[in-house]
């Protein structure tokens, strides 16, 4: 954890908020999960449909869906043998759109960033 002095004291609401924000961003900080969220922007999909739309392996997609569910970004609804996932909030689409706009204006050099290499 950060060595921020605030964290040495009892965690303030602000510190907790930052930690939660970091977690949410971490949920988004993976190409596979972003691909899943993009696929879900058009409507609910089953796991198999998500696998087909993203090219992910089935266990990999399932793992990422669990992660996204636990972060509250998606929710699964079992219907027989299928589980249909959907975005929990339309603002998630807004968030992705805003980041797209930011990338056009500022983070042109993200691709050259050595810390986060897209292998």
């Amino acid at each position: 954890m950060s060595s921020a002095t605030e964290l040495l004291a009892a965690p303030t609401a602000k510190v907790l908020a930052v930690a939660q924000q970091a977690k949410l961003f971490r949920g988004l900080a993976d190409p596979s999960r972003l691909a899943i969220l993009e696929a879900l922007r058009l409507g609910a999909l089953s796991v198999s449909e998500i696998v087909a739309a993203t090219g992910l392996s089935q266990p990999n997609a399932s793992n990422h869906l669990r992660c996204l569910s636990e972060c509250g970004l998606v929710a699964g609804e079992p219907r027989g043998r299928f589980v249909y996932y959907r975005l929990t909030d339309p603002r998630i689409g807004e968030l992705l759109a805003l980041v797209g706009e930011l990338l056009e204006g500022t983070a042109r050099n993200v691709d050259s960033c050595e810390n986060y290499r897209a292998d």
Copy 2:
């Protein structure tokens, strides 16, 4: 990297966009970097001022600032022995605000997310 079939072919603009978005989110996916960005919302600060505002160690703050610079989220301006950092785009503040709103509505359980533990 993701085994997405699109990536096996020549990367499309879409795939590259997702990879860039993931990188930008990864830049934001750390409490220390978020604390830095929050501090900079009020105006440009030197490295020492950022250290004071966040409680981070100097090398740690410097590393994170380099990361944020390379992602295009902040820019440093040397003035004598000081380097003043600022946000490169006001929409970064909007992004943080939107995530704050999302957290109020959906990701209430982020704190319980086992994949991303704030140690």
